[in-house]
């Protein structure tokens, strides 16, 4: 053990000490840098999409638009939102919250980051493959993030490489999942029973189970796709006797649980933020904890709601519709529990809390519009229109991204040992929140009007709403530039942070900011639940 003032950031120096670090906090930061880079990249593709759609007619070319759309989806889903909360905030905070010195398998944790990097490198490389569409160097996949067959079987190196990138990144997700399940089971400190772990840990635990069980399916699917391409074995290609719809079943069997891999950790963050900033014990701890598990369980049984009109049987469609309705119940329970937690609290509107309340606002809209899509008769109309685009951005971006931002600000003092500039952080919230709603709310209306998604061009009737949406996206972009400034400025020039700036009760706030290399000098013993505010 190094002397006083030593923490995980400075106890070893040099780039190699980071690249070979097995400290969960350092690995979390490695993820933060890389995921942050891909978030910017995916954001640039989003702006390009919105720029193309600013006016009817073509601003770029359809070939380019299709690649913007594909890379925005692939990057944001596989390289930003899926690893986002578990690999950054989960890695750094979860062991601290359960009173552990590290995760169960520190080396595996490092390996998961290298899997992520390998997948990311393949993803970037695929941009330069295939038919070139820009300046003679840029090509890339144009299948959309869903890689639907038979379109993705057209002998394009770019398509296969991009799919393979998702496959490799999947291993990073599996390794993180295995690690977290083992950590939650084996490394809780004395007295930290399963009924005393913070709800963020519960959410990560439910997510980890999904990561371990669902992600291999996407791996198998990509492997089958590769075998079909290389050896001509017919799985999905009708010309070889395969079934293209089978691919959709495989794909959504993973990618639907993946939706919950994206949102469950966000819900965990929100539980932490709401209790900390209303200084009140959580309402319905058990209900929130078990509803995470319920959502995780049911999420395996609803993949067919992406396929109501895919030519799967009508009976299957009805079964998937009713099962999807079941997901709505635990989700509603969580929302009401958070609301009830505010009742008779002592609420302080700091910027992390603003993001948490922004989450409640946006997620409520995302949630109720989910019922529009679960109801099978209305989904037939909304399927593959902008209504769906708006819905999942309300859930994924409005939900997960709000939680990432709120969580990142909340734990920023713990991670960096510095305070950020509160008023600029609030400003970032205003821009992101307003920009978000301006961007995506009009898309519900466009969807109801019948505008299909993934259109490089549209009828003139859709122009004015698209214009509003595009303008909104630039506002979001500006908001994130401000947020980036808050992080950089806070880290460089922020005032030193106390151990517990928010007066929160979970264990991570009992150690100094930033925490020492192995978190706790002496492993704590816990005698009460995580939110003992009285």
């Amino acid at each position: 053990m190094a002397g006083a003032g030593s923490n995980y950031l400075n106890h070893e120096k040099g780039i190699m000490s980071w690249l070979t670090s097995r400290d969960h906090k350092r690995i979390g930061l490695l993820y933060f840098y890389t995921v942050g880079f891909f978030f910017l990249l995916g954001g640039i593709f989003a702006m390009l999409i919105r720029t193309e759609l600013f006016s009817a007619g073509m601003q770029f070319t359809p070939e380019l638009y299709n690649r913007f759309m594909t890379y925005h989806g692939v990057i944001m889903v596989f390289f930003v939102i899926i690893p986002g909360i578990p690999a950054i905030l989960g890695n750094i905070i979860m062991p601290l919250q359960i009173g552990a010195r590290d995760v169960a398998f520190p080396l595996v944790n490092l390996m998961s980051w290298y899997c992520y990097i390998a997948g990311a490198a393949l993803g970037v490389a695929s941009l330069f493959m295939g038919e070139t569409v820009l300046w003679g160097i840029f090509g890339g996949a144009d299948t959309g993030w869903t890689f639907y067959t038979p379109y993705s079987i057209k002998f394009s190196a770019a398509n296969i490489t991009a799919a393979f990138a998702a496959f490799v990144a999947g291993f990073s997700s599996i390794l993180t999942g295995v690690n977290f399940v083992a950590t939650v089971h084996k490394l809780r400190c004395p007295g930290m029973t399963m009924n005393r772990i913070p709800l963020f840990v519960w959410a990560l635990y439910a997510t980890a189970i999904l990561q371990v069980l669902a992600t291999p399916v996407v791996g198998i699917t990509v492997a089958l796709l590769a075998m079909e391409n290389i050896f001509g074995i017919g799985f999905f290609d009708p010309e070889l006797g395969g079934d293209p719809v089978l691919f959709q079943h495989f794909f959504w069997f993973y990618s639907h649980p993946a939706v919950y891999i994206m949102i469950l950790p966000a819900m965990g963050v929100i539980s932490e933020l709401i209790t900390a900033f209303s200084k009140k014990t959580i309402f319905g701890y058990t209900a929130i904890a078990y509803s995470s598990l319920a959502i995780a369980g049911v999420s395996f049984l609803v993949w067919g709601h992406h396929m109501y009109v895919s030519s799967q049987s009508e009976i299957a469609g009805l079964v998937f519709s009713i099962l999807t309705m079941f997901v709505g119940v635990p989700t509603a329970i969580k929302l009401f529990n958070w609301l009830a937690t505010l009742y008779k609290g002592s609420i302080q509107m700091q910027s992390p809390m603003l993001y948490a309340l922004g989450f409640l606002f946006i997620f409520t809209i995302g949630g109720v519009t989910g019922i529009f899509l679960a109801t099978i008769a209305t989904d037939v109309h909304f399927h593959d229109t902008y209504f769906v685009v708006a819905h999942f951005h309300y859930v994924m971006v409005g939900g997960t991204l709000m939680a990432i931002m709120g969580g990142a600000l909340y734990w920023f003092p713990k991670i960096t040992g510095k305070m950020f500039n509160e008023s600029i952080a609030r400003m970032s919230f205003v821009f992101i929140f307003v920009g978000f709603n301006v961007t995506f709310f009009p898309q519900f209306i466009l969807g109801a009007m019948g505008m299909p998604r993934r259109y490089a061009d549209y009828l003139p009737a859709f122009e004015s709403l698209n214009r509003i949406s595009s303008l909104g996206s630039y506002v979001i972009g500006f908001g994130f530039i401000i947020a980036l400034y808050v992080f950089i400025n806070g880290w460089r020039k922020g005032a030193p942070a106390p151990a517990n700036p928010w007066g929160a009760k979970t264990l991570e706030w009992t150690v100094p900011s930033p925490p020492p290399h192995e978190n706790f000098d002496k492993i704590p013993t816990v005698t009460a639940g995580p939110y003992e505010y009285r």
Binding site: P244, G284, A287, V309, M325, S346, T364
Partner: protein, 340 residues
């Protein structure tokens, strides 16, 4: 339902041009209203709590409330009931949307990268056109008002002989009819609608299919009965110059040796007769059975050994995979359907 301010919700939807569309609208309006109510409850609660319980000092005491079973039961049970109502309502409308109406007029739809072909049974084929300025004129499917229509759809390759190309997924979507169905290469999918409004309605491709996806537009033109008959007779648009689909199929029947093994009069030969085949119940050697629909016939033409009808032997018929184009197969099926 009196409390639904229908106008508000309908504003955003295109005009409903079928009865099903109107029923979908009712569900949609119910969803909009109940969502608005839930949203207002949550947000008003949120804002009220934020105001009322604003932090006054760092030493504020807060209530220690861990749960309330009555409240928790209510906010689980009420949404659950609402969701079940919506499920059942949606299921009923969906079911009616998807059941083949009696005596539907059949029109074939071929989707390809990136265009539509609408083929009537009399052989008339509607394709897209190009105007003087080189701008694409989308193909227009003409249908009579108040008559049920069944679309039999498949996806085909631009050039059947191109081994590197693949037919891909498409989806036929008419917003005004609130209905949509994916089109899958290698099989037929069906879509039903009964237009109740005369007019022109947009057709969009809603399954991503590549570069020309957003240009893959079409029209459905719903006309009065008389106008439709005139149109079919050819007073508008030239009339049928081609053989009917069934007649084209009959030519294949004669020239591609189907005739050697399949009778048209009910006599079993090496293979089952085609008389009354379509729509009949097929019992197979392995004990399974199915109704002879378009997809069954297609499979039997392309891969005869997949299902062997009771009383017949396997390995008698060659595979026609790659021997017949998708259009040929469809024509043969139409011929089989005509042999009653």
């Amino acid at each position: 339902m009196w409390w639904i301010p229908a106008a508000a919700a309908q504003t955003f939807m295109p005009p409903a041009a079928t009865d099903i569309a109107k029923r979908v609208n009712s569900i949609y309006e119910f969803l909009v209203i109940s969502s608005l109510i839930s949203f207002v409850i949550v947000i008003v609660g949120l804002v009220y709590f934020i105001q009322k319980y604003k932090r006054k000092s760092e030493n504020d005491k807060t209530a220690y409330i861990t749960h309330n079973y009555t409240l928790e039961f209510l906010w689980s049970f009420i949404p659950f009931v609402l969701f079940m109502v919506l499920f059942a309502w949606g299921a009923k409308v969906y079911w009616d949307m998807r059941v083949s109406p009696e005596d539907a007029m059949e029109i074939h739809v071929n989707a390809k990268k990136w265009d539509w072909e609408f083929i009537y049974k009399n052989g008339r084929k509607i394709t897209s056109d190009v105007d003087d300025k080189g701008k694409r004129i989308p193909p227009t499917m003409v249908v009579p008002v108040n008559k049920p229509v069944k679309l039999i759809m498949t996806s085909i390759k631009l050039n059947p002989n191109d081994k590197r190309d693949r037919a891909v997924l498409h989806s036929f979507f008419v917003p005004a009819f609130r209905t949509k169905q994916d089109i899958v290469p290698g099989r037929y999918t069906a879509l039903y609608f009964t237009p109740t409004k005369v007019g022109n309605f947009h057709v969009f491709c809603t399954e991503y299919c590549g570069t020309g996806h957003s240009q893959m537009l079409g029209m459905v033109k719903v006309v009065e009965d008389n106008d439709f008959n005139n149109w079919v007779l050819g007073s508008e648009g030239g009339g049928p110059k081609e053989l009917s689909m069934a007649d084209k199929g009959k030519q294949i029947y004669a020239t591609r040796a189907c005739i050697g093994c399949h009778s048209l009069d009910g006599t079993p030969m090496t293979g089952p007769t085609w008389k009354g085949l379509y729509g009949s119940d097929r019992q197979f050697n392995d004990g399974t059975s199915t109704t002879a629909d378009e997809n069954y016939l297609r499979e039997s033409i392309l891969n005869a050994n997949a299902k062997i009808v009771k009383g017949f032997t396997a390995n008698q018929m060659p595979s026609f995979q790659g021997q017949l184009t998708d259009e040929d197969v469809t024509n043969v099926i139409e011929f089989i359907k005509s042999v009653k």
